[in-house]
Symmetry: C2
Subunit: 356 residues, 2 copies
């Protein structure tokens, strides 16, 4: 069977679809999923779309013990004319393969995955919600399944795609979020796995996230693990600061994720002739800019929230209120453009939109 | 049902037991396993011993995406008189709970786990191999099973124990291993999860391990993530150096594992009136000691290998041959004592051995 021949088994028992206002993030899943198996010596094989169902794994499967996993997150949007749009899907699949390389997971053909993705979305297209702010979240992921306890790369894997109709990631919607600048815990360090989209990085962040939530903050802003002073990223977003007339964002340094939204926003700002600097930024520089009245706005970027304006940064008890705690002009403009583009409401000058 | 009431369902289809010389490490599993479930609001419930079997999980289960897992590793030994011995099992279960706290996983009653462990071992006692160097490896672990994609601690978990009859961890047995000192990749950093026994740390080490294997080395020796020069630990062992008449081992600094074997060896050496220093050691200090003829021996300590003498350290291409590449006198003495103690061949002056 050629690798690209995807078999399809449709469900006999379609589920009820949740109401748009109950969606939340990643709580409901569609009727089908995609699976592809890997065995050493055989390569990736048996691509198939099957009814969404539990997967049975040996309790010794490496994923349960040694965290050898990678994942991606992207979205499909329904336009008012009922077209289905994807946003830069190849960027995500290239990143999946970069993450896999870091985790010693075998490369997957990106063309096959795109094909699988499109077929799966078409099978479950009635699950794509169409209200403003909603979309179909796409979660491709790889797990290591070989049932042996040696600490070595697995010889067996499953690549899967599951789909979840989602509302806005943040309960607050486009309203600004408050962020806690983390000075105790570290998410990732140069030489580590911070630039791979793999479970360990998120596991490393849970405790800090939990403590920040208890203090009333939505997410944490990570500082670098070496000097403990350079800005890295937010929980699941890259971060941008408007200082004076310029926009500054941390450079890709190996310990933060190379966000697709980050890259898109940088290109969009340049397209708008707004100066963007990708460089090292210390928390002290930010605080100084704030005290000098130059820190005008800050926002996070990521597939889940698209753009998340930051209303307050808490740095060791000092509360830095940004733009009076309201969504800034630039944040709003970027949000409008990005979400408009993704939902097919405005023309795409970049060639980022892929129609199914 | 009281939490401590463990139900037992025996298998109808016992498996064939592997030959002693085919055991390897973590390749075969016994006929039964222990499971305990957790649901928020309900706590841990339904402790049960069931036939070893695959577990079915929703593809959205958090363990597949965000690496929220912890595990332990310990061994049961059969004495020549057919008694079954455990080595400091409470130390491992206390560490399990410390790892869990770091990963926002709920605490598990250590007494219940010990009881479960003992019952499970008794059910599968015919699986404990009895040749020199063999043992029954015990793998308790927790996985997060809530099927939602938000990056928050799970509200559902499974705690499980599986058992594997094992030979020696290293194909080389007690013969010295060659170790590659890693200067590119980093395993863990202060503020991170390095002192928790959780998948992400092992995932972070796979690539370096794989490259070291390709160069002919068994494992890597990690340096710290901040200065990239202080000795941390080996893949799955803590590390000791005999410099002159003293023994030096890296202090517990938050980024290395608090090894049960490490603690035992420190106490054993002190019992033998050998001076032990737990402190920061740079790779430069080691190389200087080597050049000055003072670096006499080095060995790793861990449950899997117990003691693993180091024959060679490769530091940026320089090959430091230790004790002529042979097992040193102290390494051998520690190995003999530890394995003798664990197999009940010598008297236990420390109260470490627990008889089932
Ligand atoms: C750690 C982290 N940083 C940044 C991002 C933003 O990346 P993207 O814009 O590709 O979604 C994400 C996730 O989506 C993330 O998990
Ligand atoms: C990273 C790491 N360091 C050290 C050790 C040694 O710890 P212990 O002596 O408790 O087995 C282990 C595992 O066993 C380990 O995985």
């Amino acid at each position: 069977m050629p690798l690209s021949k995807i078999t399809v088994e449709l469900t006999n028992a379609p589920k009820n679809k949740p109401d748009n206002d109950k969606l939340g993030f990643g709580k409901y899943f569609t009727d089908h999923m995609f699976i592809l198996d890997y065995d050493a010596g055989k390569g990736w094989h048996d691509p198939r779309i099957v009814p969404y169902q539990p997967i049975a794994l040996d309790p010794a499967a490496k994923v349960f013990h040694y965290g050898q996993t990678v994942f991606e997150g992207m979205k499909a949007y329904k336009t008012p004319e009922n077209s289905i749009l994807l946003f830069r899907p190849y960027k995500n699949l290239q990143r999946l393969n970069r993450s896999s390389a870091r985790l010693s997971i075998p490369h997957i053909d990106e063309g096959l995955v795109i094909e699988a993705l499109k077929q799966l979305i078409l099978v479950d297209k009635d699950w794509i919600p169409d209200e403003q702010g909603t979309s179909l979240y796409i979660r491709p992921f790889v797990i290591s399944t070989q049932p042996t306890l040696g600490v070595q790369p697995s010889e067996q894997y499953k690549f899967m795609i599951i789909l979840s109709p989602v509302g806005s990631y943040y309960a607050e919607g486009i309203n600004p979020v408050n962020i806690f600048v983390e000075s105790e815990y570290v998410r990732a360090v140069t030489g580590g796995i911070g630039n791979a989209k793999t479970g360990g990085n998120y596991a490393a962040g849970l405790k800090a996230q939990q403590e920040a939530t208890e203090k009333g903050y939505s997410q944490v802003l990570w500082l670098d693990g070496v000097h403990r002073k350079y800005i890295e990223e937010v929980g699941s977003m890259n971060v941008f600061f408007k200082v004076g007339d310029k926009v500054i964002t941390p450079a890709l340094n190996g310990s933060i994720l190379d966000g697709v939204t980050r890259d898109s926003v940088i290109r969009l700002l340049k397209h708008w002739k707004i100066e963007v600097e990708e460089r090292t930024i210390s928390i002290d520089e930010l605080v100084d800019a704030y005290r000098g009245g130059q820190l005008k706005e800050a926002f996070g970027t990521g597939t889940a929230a698209v753009i998340s304006p930051i209303g307050e940064l808490n740095w060791q008890g000092d509360k830095l209120t940004l733009n009076g705690g309201k969504t800034g002009e630039l944040s709003a403009r970027v949000y409008e453009f990005m979400t408009g583009l993704q939902r097919g409401l405005i023309e795409d000058p970049f060639g980022w939109i892929e129609k199914l």
